[in-house]
């Protein structure tokens, strides 16, 4: 099977010395790709910027203007976590465009799997605000492009942090199903099980929070027991993955216990939700331990391409199994409340 990799662009100008979101991350991710030795089965999507019109599908024009102006003015710290440099505007537009290019290539081939090895990451970026290392929401820009074509898009987000930006952008959009596994409590503080979507998109958001120390078996069980039935009903025509690798046990940013092999299992789950070949693309989000990032990318892409290199083995036995039933109860209660609200308000 072909792997379509996108996002190739010189990102060295988006760097803040000492900051963990750094160019070496993409180098590590691409080393993980190279470790697959795909030869002619490796295809690169031509780099391109996302256009203003493509960005405006998810971001406010005023925010884009302000971000661009900040960068052209030399950049600076946007908040306690997030920075921009003179080059960040161009690099961020290429990261968003990388996803679009990968999708174009997959559509043209009608086969293969996509991987967007670009930074800065995107899933915390809100419609009108940068946040959590993210400037533009890459997976949301790709999702919005697919929506324009009438597709139904599942966004599966296994980054260790909740993708608050993606959730917010598609909160009331019935043609997008957002499913997130994440450590909780943890930054950004959102991602409660009871957040299930807006009144026009009830049950189109599935949050699966797990406690610190949770292992891969807990995440898989949460997806299989809680999310899979919702995904089946939704019947996606595309699957996009916010593939953060900071849930790895060696990652310094959080406290989950996943291994590279656990990401391979999650990838196989994601692939099982895709309706046909050429309808699965993964977007690099977090992942700050470079070796863990490299092996996790290797394991993840290897799994969906039919190879199955083994690394640390699967993790299991961590806390959180009892959370799954609680998550389901909280979701049902929230969904019932929204249906009641809609009924009393005369329907959505």
């Amino acid at each position: 099977m072909v792997l379509v990799v996108g996002g190739f662009f010189d990102d060295s100008g988006h760097e803040d010395p000492g900051h963990p979101e750094r160019p070496d991350r993409v180098t590590a991710a691409l080393a993980g790709v190279a470790d697959l030795h795909l030869d002619s089965d490796l295809v690169t999507a031509a780099p391109r910027e996302a256009t203003r019109a493509e960005l405006l599908r998810v971001h406010h024009g005023g925010y884009l203007d302000e971000l661009g102006a900040l960068c052209y003015g030399g950049g600076g710290d946007i908040d306690q976590d997030t920075y921009a440099t003179y080059d960040s505007w161009t690099i961020a537009k290429h990261a968003a465009g990388g996803g679009l290019a990968v999708i174009d290539e997959l559509q043209r081939r009608n086969e293969g799997v996509g991987f967007v090895a670009a930074r800065p990451p995107g899933h915390h970026a809100l419609a009108d605000r940068a946040m959590g290392f993210c400037l533009l929401n890459n997976v949301a820009v790709a999702t919005a492009a697919l929506l324009e074509e009438g597709e139904r898009v599942l966004v599966l987000d296994w980054d260790v942090h909740h993708g608050n930006g993606t959730q917010q952008i598609f909160w009331d959009e019935p043609s997008v199903l957002y499913v997130s596994t994440h450590q909780w409590p943890l930054f950004p503080g959102s991602g409660y099980a009871g957040e299930v979507g807006g009144r026009h998109a009830i049950d189109r958001t599935v949050n699966l929070p797990v406690p610190a120390g949770a292992t891969g078996d807990v995440l898989r069980r949460a997806i299989e027991e809680v999310a899979a039935p919702v995904i089946s009903d939704f019947d996606p025509t595309w699957v996009l993955v916010s593939a953060g690798f900071d849930a790895h046990r060696d990652d310094p940013m959080a406290n989950l216990e996943l291994t590279s092999d656990d990401f391979a299992e999650l990838a196989l789950l994601a692939a099982s939700f895709a309706p046909q070949p050429g309808r699965l693309a993964m977007f690099l989000e977090g992942g700050y331990d470079l070796l863990a990032l490299r092996t996790s990318v290797h394991a993840t892409l290897g799994a969906v391409l039919g190879a199955r290199p083994e690394f640390e083995g699967l993790s299991s036995g961590g806390p959180g199994s009892d959370h799954v039933a609680r998550v389901q109860r909280e979701r049902v209660a929230a969904i019932d409340s929204l249906h009641t609200f809609n009924a009393e308000e005369g329907g959505a």
Binding site: L70, D77, Q80, G132, L186, F187, P188, G189, M253, A254
Partner: protein, 144 residues
């Protein structure tokens, strides 16, 4: 103002947030209100020094003492999230803030433009009164 029972003030250890805390303590002392000092834990705090959820930073006690604010009326809250979201959530239980206080600019915020200004973001979207305190604010009572 006398009806305000709980003031929430954003704190990140910066000079600007010190000024906001001074204003909040001063106002609370005059109105007999409680103050919850709110710290938002960002992504990078997992890599470096953290504010402990259980223990208020000694700097706050020092400010309270200087302002003559009864520390029994001081609450300390550490919450995961970006500063804006965390401050907005202070309106809900368990804090139930009726007034938000922020410094004019927080740690790590860009100094030239609108972008990156927690205070402007809070003012724009808050559902309760907001006070933005200049970084050089010192209550007259403290000066005296």
């Amino acid at each position: 103002m006398n009806d305000v029972k709980m003031i929430a003030v954003g704190y990140d250890g910066s000079r600007e947030s010190d000024a906001a805390v001074r204003w909040a303590f001063h106002m609370a002392r005059e109105t007999n209100a409680y103050v919850t000092v709110v710290h938002a834990t960002g992504l990078l705090e997992h890599l470096g020094t953290n504010f402990s959820p259980g223990v208020a930073p000694p700097a706050l006690s020092a400010i309270a003492k200087k302002c003559g604010f009864d520390q029994a009326r001081l609450r300390w809250s550490v919450t995961d999230g970006d500063a804006c979201s965390v401050l907005f959530r202070a309106v809900n239980p368990p804090i139930n803030a009726e007034l938000l206080v922020v410094g004019s600019r927080g740690r790590g915020e860009h100094s030239g433009m609108l972008m990156g200004s927690t205070s402007l973001e809070v003012v724009e979207h808050a559902t309760l009164p907001v006070v933005v305190v200049p970084s050089d604010f010192v209550p007259r009572a403290v000066l005296n």
